[in-house]
């Protein structure tokens, strides 16, 4: 799977928000004081413009990134933030912190340099953790410096960009305890994304997932794979993206074709397969087959809120490499959204090849709320529903995924066509054995 430069930027921005929240939680736990942060909309800024907002006294923590992000980015705190955060770290009395926020000089700020170093260390630790957990190609973040003073006067030296050069900026407001909110922001120079993130050339796929052609395919299956697959599942109901994400399972699909001659009617074939033992190619014959939804369903699923945006859902899906997201709260399922639902919702002009024609309205499609595009719970399966009924239902309603819920509406998992194929072909992996 490849990811474009735009997607990397979007992913980084998403993770930056999460990392800032994690930093607040970390400091809260360490110093026993409440911290909160609120991010505003990402924008393009220049050092000249920021100098008006952040004035002449600020602290800049520089972070050297390696991996998919290659270069240095910066986190800047205004004067109020500088004295509050450092004051908390060195345990200054409350009144001293308040006085410094109002009248603190650059000399007083420099006296707190060690505290900023520690704040930066903790900040980078939180960020590194979040990126390591959520971005496959992330290398490492290391704090590369702390600057106290006027970062805008010689911005090329302090933040690595000329005073009139655009950079991505995520403005945020942070609150610590009962102190008034202060400003901080994240500066991402454009060069950070340029070195490795050429459009459509960066792979975020885990290394262990080898291309399908590298997997040995049993001879019988390889021959049958040439038969048209559309006879088994109507092509129109198979979202391209889902097929792509299930590529490693093609072998399974091919073997299924071998076991079910196309000339036979589909329900009859299914009846035969599900109600009998499998006679698989390769010699491992007569394996009992799974019988009901509970035996083959996926229970490890991801949840999103119906108020989440398409962009948030795409990010989550990308991170997990999952084809479906459950929509709901507190385990109560309201709907389900697939990758093809999301792809259908966003403008085609967001694709890198159409970047030239991209308009603000196209970006707005990323903000569509999931509640407007999700599939409501019309077709479901019970945990005890026999496999043959599930397959028939999938054919009848042209759906490849059914949520498994009981009569009280309690959610158990989901079952996809590919789960069924896999369990038919690999019964050893099924929970019933």
């Amino acid at each position: 799977m490849t990811i474009s430069q735009t997607e990397i930027q979007s992913h980084v921005i998403e993770l930056s928000t999460e990392a800032s929240g994690t930093f607040c939680e970390d400091i809260s736990g360490m110093f026993g004081i409440d911290l909160g942060c609120q991010h505003q909309e990402v924008c393009f800024e220049t050092a000249a413009k920021l100098s008006k907002k952040y004035k002449k006294l600020a602290v800049v923590i520089s972070v050297k990134a390696s991996g998919i992000l290659d270069g240095t980015f910066h986190i800047v705190f205004d004067k109020e933030g500088l004295f509050t955060l450092a004051g908390i770290i060195v345990m200054q009395p409350e009144q001293k912190i308040i006085d410094n926020r109002k009248r603190g000089s650059i000399e007083q700020a420099r006296d707190l340099n060690d505290a900023f170093g520690e704040a930066g260390n903790l900040l980078v630790g939180s960020w590194d953790r979040i990126f390591r957990e959520n971005m496959e190609s992330h290398g490492h973040f290391v704090q590369s410096g702390t600057f106290v003073g006027d970062p805008w006067e010689n911005s090329q030296k302090t933040i690595g960009v000329a005073s009139d050069e655009d950079f991505f900026f995520i403005p945020c407001q942070m609150t610590i305890g009962a102190y008034p909110a202060f400003n901080y922001g994240i500066i991402f120079p454009k060069t950070l994304f340029e070195k490795k993130a050429e459009p459509d050339s960066v792979s975020l796929a885990p290394k262990e997932e080898a291309p399908v052609e590298e997997k040995p395919i049993p001879q019988a299956a390889a021959v049958v794979q040439k038969e048209p697959e559309a006879d088994v599942i109507p092509k129109a109901v198979v979202p391209d993206s889902v097929v792509e994400s299930q590529l490693p399972k093609m072998e399974t699909e091919a073997v299924l074709n071998a076991a079910a001659p196309i000339a036979m009617s589909i329900p009859e074939t299914i009846q035969k397969m599900v109600n009998s033992s499998a006679n698989l190619p390769g010699g491992n014959n007569t394996i009992p087959l799974p019988v009901c939804a509970r035996d083959v369903m996926q229970t490890d699923v991801l949840w999103v809120s119906s108020d989440d945006s398409v962009q948030q859902a795409l990010t989550k899906m990308q991170q997990s490499r999952s084809g479906y997201l459950m929509v709901g709260t507190d385990g109560k399922l309201e709907g389900i959204v697939s990758l093809s639902d999301l792809n259908a919702a966003v403008s085609v002009y967001l694709r890198p090849m159409f970047a030239k024609w991209r308009r603000p309205l196209d970006d707005a499609t990323l903000q569509i709320k999931l509640k407007w595009i999700m599939s409501r719970l019309v077709n479901t399966s019970m945990p005890e529903t026999p496999l043959v009924e599930i397959i028939e239902k999938m054919f009848r309603f042209n759906c490849l995924c059914l949520p498994v819920v009981d009569q009280q509406g309690k959610f158990y998992g989901i079952i996809t066509a590919f789960d069924i194929f896999e369990s038919l072909m690999n019964p050893n992996s099924s929970s019933i054995l």
Binding site: G29, V90, N121, S126, D128
Partner: protein, 124 residues
């Protein structure tokens, strides 16, 4: 008999934070020492061994991993427990310092509860 503790970190602020957090965890030490790097720590150990060392990894002059190896060569420090404290938390690093002779690892950011959990087994 009360226990003794040494905090080794090149940042005076961080030593102060660790000391405060240890106190908040409810653990009590009769004697506490501080050192700014591995060399300083070894000098202080010559004056008297300690029961527990809380040690940063990245420090000038002598880093935490080198300090662990050196302390393990001092016969008097056989009973000294060394807990590393660092923002770097990769499994490779943890495995490596444990293999070198460290007794535990605390990732920054830490909480009083974390110190309680990691240090209390060595308090009796």
């Amino acid at each position: 008999m009360g226990k003794s503790l040494m905090i080794v970190d090149d940042s005076a602020t961080m030593r102060k934070i660790i000391m405060r957090t240890v106190r908040m965890s409810g653990l009590e030490f009769d004697r506490t020492e501080e050192a700014g790097n591995g060399v300083e720590a070894l000098e202080k150990l010559k004056g008297g061994v300690v029961d527990i060392i809380l040690c940063d990894i990245n420090m000038p002059e002598m880093c935490g991993t080198d300090l662990v190896k050196r302390v393990r060569q001092i016969p008097d420090c056989n009973g000294t427990k060394i807990i590393m404290v660092s923002t770097e938390s990769s499994q490779e690093l943890i495995d490596s310092v444990i293999a070198d002779g460290a007794n535990g690892f605390i990732c920054k950011p830490f909480t009083p509860e974390k110190f309680q959990e990691k240090l209390s087994p060595f308090m009796n």
